[in-house]
Amino acid sequence: GESVGLHLPTLSVQEGDNSIINCAYSNSASDYFIWYKQESGKGPQFIIDIRSNMDKRQGQRVTVLLNKTVKHLSLQIAATQPGDSAVYFCAENGRGDMRFGAGTRLTVKP
């Protein structure tokens, strides 16, 4: 079936390094993507989104890249901080169901 998913379940980086979290999707009709961050004991928190008419979008310390040719999405976090430690999810929204992939747990080492 069609799904949204992430490549790696865990990622460990050194504080101050850049982090890259990847996501592959299979529905070529998808036109809107979202990255969420979930900290322990909390609900997912919106980070950044991108529509399919764009291939890059930047926020504060975060950048989302979209490659529609290979159906790949990535989240880049610059100068990763201990507060960035969380589980990151990509999601596809646009048809009323907002499907999530399995998350990537980011651990930031001091």
Partner: protein, 113 residues
């Protein structure tokens, strides 16, 4: 308010009992979503509403799960005759319109014993 309010935070039910979870979406948001998170790394979509109308219910186990979003009332998710495998954190989210990111509540942890 600007947050999605879910109640209760924790709910314990014996197997076979009924469980009812509530969600107050952000005022002005037209879409409400319910998710089940069993393992911390996976979200299962259950159902979405556009105002009080079911928008997509393809994820709902129809035999025991039901949900409503009535005007001037919190939305609800009800599980009849709970099973051990229903133990999970249930998240509600709301968004202003279709095709926009959603704001999540902090979840209800359901434990079936």
């Amino acid at each position: 308010g600007e947050e999605v309010a879910q109640t209760p935070k924790h709910l314990v039910r014996g197997e076979g009992q009924k469980a009812k979870l509530y969600c107050a979406p952000i005022k002005g948001h037209s879409y409400v979503f319910w998710y089940q998170q069993v393992l911390k790394n996976e979200f299962k979509f259950l159902i979405s509403f556009q105002n009080e109308n079911v928008f997509d219910e393809t994820g709902m186990p129809k035999e025991r799960f039901s949900a409503k979003c009535l005007p001037n009332s919190p939305c609800s998710l009800e599980i009849q005759a709970t099973k051990l495998e229903d133990s999970a954190v249930y998240f509600c989210a709301s968004s202003q319109w279709q095709g926009r990111w959603a704001t999540f509540g902090s979840g209800t942890r359901l434990t079936v014993v």
